[in-house]
């Protein structure tokens, strides 16, 4: 071989997600958990409701994971995690990190009550929502995280989703929890940094990770990382933090904001969009971005 050089490792080396799992090719959810666990380490417990990860880890009696998973009912990621944390503390384990690991359906929709309850109580858990923007596990039905205009089986082309993506980060900020952050699987160092930062706080921490889904988005598996980069660079999914519900910090400044067209072109779920629809979506993105910048400046 060539000169003595070390492999560059910008994120921790330890793998706590195992190979042989059932994720699709190019799965963003697989990337998301891989990075979050690299940040948290093995002393972690995951509470996973119905979502892709309820299946990815492998069927009974096997699991691909090096950390324990408590599979729980769909709407109970946050309440189960709250219970696990309380139970562990009562038996003397104050070290283990308890993570609720849920998809967008189990967070934005059916799990929102339990999440709000936990956040209001400021229960000491990290809630991570890996967002692939639809109910993917059950076959690509819309959730309130599905962006306007996206095709899903329940928002077919003739009956599109005409409501904007629910602003879950604002909802979580309204609970005045110590830490809310957005992240993308295409910026693993950022995922690791934010996860570690979340762990340093006591109370409810919420991390919203954009996780590309080639299967549901009808995109090429090899484009998964590209999409996660584009979505940040065009400000559709900006990377920022909110501390105590008030302090907004943009963690990735965007100098050269890209239009959304190239991003949409790579995904079959947007293929049907007409130019005027794309214009409307671009306007929505621009408005959201301007609003966010104002909040960040207000500090």
């Amino acid at each position: 071989m060539k000169k003595e050089k070390k492999m560059t490792m910008t994120i921790p080396a330890e793998e706590l997600v195992g190979a042989g799992n059932l994720a699709c090719q190019g799965c963003g959810a697989n990337l998301a958990l891989r990075y979050v666990l690299k940040a948290l380490g093995q002393r972690t417990v995951l509470c996973i409701p119905a979502c892709c990860w309820a299946v990815i880890d492998g069927p009974f009696p096997h699991s691909c994971m090096s950390v324990p998973i408590y599979h729980c009912a769909f709407e109970t990621a946050a309440s189960t995690a709250t219970g696990v944390k309380a139970g562990l503390e009562m038996i003397g384990d104050k070290e283990t990190t308890v993570v609720a690991w849920a998809g967008d359906g189990g967070t934005f929709d059916i799990g929102l009550q339990a999440l709000s309850g936990a956040a209001e109580r400021n229960d000491d858990i990290i809630y991570v929502c890996y967002d692939n923007e639809a109910y993917m596990n059950t076959g690509i039905q819309r959730s309130s995280a599905t962006p306007t205009g996206a095709w899903t089986t329940t928002t077919p082309v003739k009956f599109p989703k005409d409501r904007p993506k629910k602003d879950i980060d604002a909802i979580m900020a309204a609970h005045r929890i110590p830490y809310v952050a957005t992240a993308s699987t295409s910026y693993p160092e950022d995922v690791v940094k934010k996860t570690r930062k979340a762990k340093s706080f006591k109370g409810t921490k919420f991390i919203h990770i954009y996780a590309p889904c080639p299967t549901g988005w009808k995109s090429r598996p090899e484009d998964a990382v590209k999409l996660g980069r584009m979505v940040v660079q065009n400000c559709v999914f900006p990377l920022y933090e909110i501390e105590n519900g008030e302090k907004y910090t943009l963690t990735m400044k965007i100098k050269d904001k890209k239009p959304i067209d190239d991003y949409l072109k790579l995904q079959g779920r947007f293929r049907h969009l007409k130019p005027e629809q794309i214009r409307a979506m671009q306007e929505e993105v621009d408005q959201n971005w301007a609003r966010l910048l104002k909040k960040c400046e207000a500090v």
Partner: protein, 384 residues
């Protein structure tokens, strides 16, 4: 130590003496006093537990499940709509083999809104794989909670301890509150063989194919079948220490009875008045008060009704399209065992309508004067 306390507080004391470690509960009339007292006990340090003020009963059971899975002793209490809201999670606790104990105040299901007692809420959960205890006195309540933890933890099956709204929950009675040290000796700390811990990382409750699901549920049933014997054994141990034996039923003069009343809850004590009166008039009546509904105490029901000529079940509940659920259980218990005797299925006291000695007089009179039931249901006290 003897104290005059309400039924709800008997639940609280039971949970406290059992050293519950995580309590997750949501208020609902008439359960509120259970959690209020537990909240106070946690606040003033009488009970070293985490009290999670959840935002719904569904979350209450989810949190108890999480805590129990982590290896802590978990307790909650609810009633009617709250228990119904927990339904999905009741299945999760039993299928997950977690020994959570729940106190349920029997309250009728809405609509219309009601806070008064009947048994439809708990009996609607009879298929969920929970042990069900029906109490008729505050002493029974506190004794049952403590023993429920022991039985549940021995067999990894959750329990519910059920008491009538107001008739028991808000009735003050003298209760002998066991001594904490004695309870500690009787009920050691919860030490499950497997729990959620990074020291032994496993996935709990993952996708289970037709290849595997049935054996897991077969095991649950097999362990349920061990419950009656475990309740008896635990009961004898409890009797040695505390002087009171609970058992699966309360047998009042069943041995030589021609007619056996089958009852549950506080109505079961009211039945004694009727039994005594009937006996004075020369009718040999007995009362079989069922204390454990699930698992069905088949053997005891068969044994105690063996010599009777007729059975009259008084249900404070109804399975619409059929009749009362205790009556269903009694019929299924005796079917195919010995001669087929008539079972009269009565329904009384729905929605908190009073069940009085007069109600039982009517029941017994009807049973005496009919060879066999003429109608599916004998309705007691309906304004007709």
């Amino acid at each position: 130590m003897k104290k005059v306390i309400m039924g709800n507080h008997a639940l609280s004391y039971g949970a406290m003496l059992s050293r519950s470690q995580v309590i997750a509960a949501y208020p609902i009339t008439p359960q509120t006093q259970v959690v209020e007292l537990l909240s106070e006990m946690c606040a003033d340090g009488t009970l070293d537990a985490k009290f999670i003020k959840v935002e719904s009963e569904h979350s209450a059971m989810a949190a108890c499940i999480g805590a129990s899975a982590a290896g802590a002793r978990a307790f909650t209490a609810t009633s009617a709509q709250g228990l119904a809201l927990m339904h999905e999670m009741l299945h999760w606790a039993s299928g997950g083999r977690l020994p959570v104990v729940l106190g349920n105040i029997n309250r009728a299901m809405a609509p219309g809104w009601t806070i008064w007692t009947d048994q439809n809420d708990s009996l609607s959960e009879r298929d969920t794989g929970w042990i069900q205890f029906y109490c008729a006195s505050n002493q029974e309540v506190i004794d049952t909670v403590i023993q429920a933890f022991k039985v549940s933890e021995a067999l990894a099956i959750p329990s519910m301890v059920v008491l009538d709204a107001f008739a028991l929950s808000h009735t003050y009675e003298v209760v002998d509150i066991p001594d904490q040290a004695e309870v500690d000796a009787f009920l050691p700390p919860f030490k499950p063989p497997f729990r959620v811990t990074p020291d032994d990382p496993r996935a709990f409750g993952g996708l289970t194919s037709p290849e595997h699901y049935m054996e897991l549920r077969y095991k649950l049933q097999k362990d349920m079948e061990k419950v009656p014997e475990m309740i008896d054994r635990t009961g004898r141990e409890y009797e040695k220490r505390f002087g009171r034996y609970l058992g699966l039923v309360d047998d009042y003069l069943c041995e030589d009875a021609d007619i056996i009343l089958v009852t549950s809850g506080t109505a079961g004590y009211t039945a004694h008045v009727a039994v005594d009166e009937m006996r004075e008039h020369g009718y040999k009546v007995g009362n079989l008060r069922i204390k454990v509904f699930r698992p069905t105490p088949f053997e005891i029901i068969r044994r105690l009704t063996k010599n009777a000529k007729k059975i009259a079940v008084v249900d404070r509940n109804i399975s619409y399209g059929h009749h009362g659920m205790f009556a269903q259980e009694v019929k299924s218990a005796i079917y195919g065992h010995g001669e087929c005797k008539p079972v009269f299925a009565f329904i009384a006291g729905l929605g908190g309508r009073d069940i009085t000695p007069d109600s039982f007089r009517e029941v017994v009179d009807h049973t005496i004067s009919h060879d066999r039931p003429e109608e599916e249901i004998g309705w007691i006290g309906v304004k007709r």
